[in-house]
Symmetry: C2
Subunit: 425 residues, 2 copies
């Protein structure tokens, strides 16, 4: 991989998401060589992917070039590659562009969609974990309406205008809300010759409440907001199959739809090579101790979505969100520096700053530690928290400008099929 | 195509570029049915494609959704499709989504890259006539540098850092300048472990001056600017072949390069079905009279790049640029309205407002009718003319914001490989 061997210990970080970047930033300007590898050359701000998918933001404003983040730092290297396997016996990673030795290895490879083994759904449903996937959803939504115009077959037309979102977590809720706003403000103007009232947005949640993990108030209010926007919210309903045409469930209701967006599960993006018992089954996350060390290994760490650190409060590991990832990354950097200078390391304690979700214009739910609120103020809080969490002044400005524009004009102008999405079927 | 038959005459417009849009706008709110068809659902502001290719702008800010442009107008229809053939005997167009009858047909299908029959170059070189093509160039540039990092073979590394731009018109000149600015300000920071001085930008022009069609001063100054930025300008040199590795020319110089961008020719994007003698050979443009009527047809018109209207000043037709397209579109709309109300039609006279090209920061050349100037002021004029020509307030704002940011920070932040470009070879 053409990286010089120096006298400094080499820390290799796999993944430039929230966790990996926080770790990298914490290791800046130390007597270390740091190598960050990622399969993209940019960091993705995942919480706003749904806005890219629904034409509210351009992809370039929620991505940030990784090299720029690191290019002021000496002895920092970036390589664009995918890691194939870890060889812990040789302290080496194997990638698509060659092998690389490490002294300390940080796995921050994030998460991927979990289809729970249903290959049909995997084949026909859309997922939304990356920018290209979000752009595919954007293209497909518009392609559906363009196609719906052309048919006089009512069943076919309705199927093209029927959007099934599976999973009532933040992703599903925010996407359903954004689609509902498109239905309200934009699509009737764009398609005056279609009856947009026939468009259906169905949000299907297998358990009995939305936004599991947030407060009861948040969950109920989010549901109210969605219903007021015209979303059909289905609870206690489990999607069993989708053949590209028909969604079958464990209830009496089935759905004929051309578009199913699967937001019902994520799993860790683990990497091969470590002992099998390091990985928690089904969740596909690396089992780590309170110092983020992967079970059985001294110099291999996992942080963020791909790590599962059991604690009293979180027996199944922390939620797969930005905050635990960032906090784990920061602390791990400190702990690695402490370890290398023989100081005492600090165990991780998650500081839950709260969580939030937006449903639409002036509609959001926020749970802080002791304060829970919903509505207009929550929406402004949501906006500013997300704006300030974005990396880069340019990105912040452009997202802000888009949001002001979209708010004033009730519009989402990036409804462009830049690359047509070729259906998998 | 599911478009209602009304008592109004139907005008069908093929293409939503500068010409087609100008015609459509001119036909608004008249006793007409207007149908616009395009293979993209957006209008592309082509003069800024090179900035998308070099990471200075996001694609979404130089594109504008066609439906939004037309959605306030009654009896206007848009269809996303490609036209396969015109059947003038039946007054019908054949598209990928069916047939459509017309009373008046406006062909504004624009232009495409002309490889002059060289299939090798067509296979291995990059072109830049659309947003996806620009994004491919963007991805390829970055991929090249990521790859160059990995090899210790000097020949291979140099080939990855050698950029050949064929064609010294505005596209070639602007692209060469933008690449030179990347070389100066951005790449050395992004790739501290590469010797960016080895990067070569070669601009190859077959005739003896750049910016043919502009004034001698503009041409000479543009060349000076390019040379001062470190671009190798080759004149009177013709590229004969490119096999994906080696560029051969009619001179003694050949170039080993992984990237060739072909900006050496455009031709009209004609559509099948009309009589063969309507089309000018080699240029592939429809021969039209001063009312934009295609030779031999009364109700078929061609405007913009795809039309060639011979006049004393322009015996080979007008230059393939935005201004003639817009002016022809506007006048044609008026003439069609005049024709339908039996009034006298006005022959087209091109009002040449001048032309301009930018080479880089503070470096542009402007030719107005009687006034020619170059340098910083020209650069500001170039910027504001392009800013105000962009469609949409949001696009204008975001482009402006990007330019201010790029100017102050000497940066181009959208250097993202959103979709990897798979090399054709």
């Amino acid at each position: 991989m053409n990286i010089p061997q120096t006298s400094f210990p080499r820390v290799v970080i796999i993944g430039g998401g929230f966790a990996g970047l926080a770790a990298a930033k914490g290791l800046e300007k130390q007597e270390l060589q740091v190598v960050l590898v990622d399969k993209h050359n940019y960091h993705t701000f995942q919480p706003l992917l749904y806005q890219v998918a629904t034409g509210g933001l351009e992809p370039d404003s929620i991505a940030f070039p990784l090299r720029k983040l690191l290019n002021d730092v000496e002895n920092f290297y970036f390589r664009l590659t995918e890691v194939v396997k870890i060889h812990p016996d040789k302290n080496t990673i194997e990638t698509t562009i060659g092998f690389l030795e490490y002294d300390e290895l940080i796995i921050a490879s994030g998460s991927t969609t979990n289809f729970f083994g249903n290959t049909n759904i995997e084949k026909f449903a859309m997922e939304m974990k990356s920018i290209p996937q979000s752009l595919n959803i954007r293209s497909l939504i518009i392609e559906n309406f363009e196609e719906a115009l052309l048919t006089s077959n009512i069943e076919e037309r309705n199927a093209l205008m029927n959007f099934i979102i599976v999973g009532g977590g933040p992703t599903g809720v925010e996407l359903a809300g954004a689609l509902a706003e498109m239905k309200k403000g934009i699509l009737p103007k764009d398609y005056p010759d279609l009856d947009i009232r026939q468009m259906q947005i169905n949000l299907i949640q297998s358990s009995e409440c939305l936004l599991k993990g947030m407060s009861e108030e948040a969950s109920e209010k989010a549901e109210d907001f969605l219903i007021s926007l015209g979303v059909n919210v289905w609870k206690n309903l489990r999607v069993l199959n989708y053949d590209g045409k028909l969604v079958t469930t464990n209830g009496i209701d089935h759905f004929r739809a051309e578009t199913v967006i699967w937001a019902a599960g994520v799993q860790g993006e683990t990497i091969a090579g470590l002992e099998a018992n390091c990985i928690i089954e089904r969740a596909e996350r690396f089992k780590v101790n309170e110092f983020s060390q992967v079970a059985n290994y001294k110099n291999i760490y996992a942080i963020g979505d791909v790590a599962s650190m059991a604690s009293d409060k979180y027996p199944k590991g922390h939620p797969m969100m930005a905050q635990p990832a960032i906090q784990q990354g920061k602390l791990l950097a400190q702990n690695i520096l402490a370890k290398l200078s023989n100081k005492i390391q600090t165990p991780f304690v998650y500081n839950d700053k709260g969580s939030m979700a937006t449903i639409g214009r002036n509609k959001a739910v926020v749970d802080l530690n002791k304060w829970k609120f919903q509505g207009v103020f929550a929406w402004f809080v949501w906006m500013f928290v997300h704006l300030f969490s974005l990396i880069g002044f340019r990105n912040k400005s452009i997202v802000f400008l888009n949001w002001v524009y979209n708010y004033i004009r009730f519009d989402r102008e990036t409804r462009l099929i830049i690359r047509p999405f070729k259906r998998k079927k």
